[in-house]
Point group: C3
Chain length 203, copies 3
Amino acid sequence: MLNVIFFVAITAEAMTAALAAGRRKMDWFGVCLIACVTALGGGTTRDIFLDHYPLYWVGNPLILLLVCGAALFTIAIARVAYHLRWLFLLLDALGLVVFTIIGCNVAIEIGAHPLIVIVSGMVTGIVGGILRDVLCNDIPLVFRGELYATVSIVTAVIYFFGLTAGFHPDLVIPVAIAVGFPLRVLALVKKWQMPKFVYEKDL
Amino acid sequence: MLNVIFFVAITAEAMTAALAAGRRKMDWFGVCLIACVTALGGGTTRDIFLDHYPLYWVGNPLILLLVCGAALFTIAIARVAYHLRWLFLLLDALGLVVFTIIGCNVAIEIGAHPLIVIVSGMVTGIVGGILRDVLCNDIPLVFRGELYATVSIVTAVIYFFGLTAGFHPDLVIPVAIAVGFPLRVLALVKKWQMPKFVYEKDL
Amino acid sequence: MLNVIFFVAITAEAMTAALAAGRRKMDWFGVCLIACVTALGGGTTRDIFLDHYPLYWVGNPLILLLVCGAALFTIAIARVAYHLRWLFLLLDALGLVVFTIIGCNVAIEIGAHPLIVIVSGMVTGIVGGILRDVLCNDIPLVFRGELYATVSIVTAVIYFFGLTAGFHPDLVIPVAIAVGFPLRVLALVKKWQMPKFVYEKDL
């Protein structure tokens, strides 16, 4: 179940990344690379931080074909992509939550400290988007966007403490998704944002 | 002693990073993340380069709370932060020197080549600031600033060759700090810079 | 033979990177650092992805001196560098192909999946240039340039399938170079580009 959502989420992240690359007028190769970095960058960073080898796409290289295929498919359907943007955003929100849960799982498996479990979930959920924005030469949206990282943290906390409290994953996973996913969608719709820190002076 | 300065330096780096994030109007989460990347990025990069696991903040996750706490505290005191900017810059200079020494130590412990010891010190000292500037969408200051990297190299060279010459760390560490710290402060005050390479033509 | 070309290519990459840094008016240290990141970043990223330690420049730290020496030499001869720009571009093209072959070799040695072999070659060939552009605050050229990544992929595919088909490396390496190198040079001369994906709407 989590695996199915995982592949849906990877595909969704690849497709929204392809549209971001298209806004920068990148060539087809650039589109595929941005898609790979966005869809796989979070898990890769987590695996490097935790010394968790082989990286999951090195162990399952067909994921690379899935991501590049999704990116090229996005180019093909770009004309209708605009009308599907809400679908993309919904799948992207689902992906954020699922990536976070998977990231927590990896850290739990290697017996990491609770704080590291939360961080591992968050890194898996948000680093792909940060790398995408850096490569597109933007200030990462996640630093200013609608509760993106907050949703990841909330999901990770619910998931981890749910497991710690002794509940079965089959119960905790749906609960974590049922909180994180609508929270992100609501934040998008209502344009909820974290308070900003504005400091105008030079140091 | 080095440990105490290390925590002071981490805190100082987190606070100056928070001000940089505030200049970019990031939200509170972005401020914390920029603080973590700046304060911990150098040591993390060094540990990855040297295959030195677990990463030090994975092994001591409370450091993450210290860094985020320092970042949020900076938001709270932002009104007076401007008047403390010299204190921040002094602590940041101290941090550069101490991070460098700690970076050298890690490489020495695993028996690395002298050149790698110097590079390890330098990476620990300066990479955090480079990552901060990339995430804030600037050309990294360290490539154009006041002897930042040079101070790190000088400190690393003194420290490594002091140890190699047989002196006790209790002597070499204060000497390295006593050279590196005022060198950086003087460079800031006098606006000393490395010569620039200006090449106007396209390749 | 491949080793000789490897060192020529590293030097060429360091020199073109130094010119890029000069266009950004970086100081001498920044020039050396950009040269190191560009010349060594691809191989470093590959080694981290494949858990292939020690990193090759950690094992052979004199490479760092070669790269920094080449960068400083470029500053010294900057006045004539403009007249040598075609030589640089030729050596850079050769470097792309050779880096790719070396990257494939590393992945083959550790018994990686064919797709990972291709990716390993490509990462080794192109990531250095991507990191250079990110640090210089540009959208990476490779996402919009003249078949840069495509040349790397073509070279990797020829090399890997040549070996798989049972041919001797002494035959396959020259063939891969003989296809990849002129392809890149032709793409530069004729300004061949991959088709671009242009998507004007906001998501």
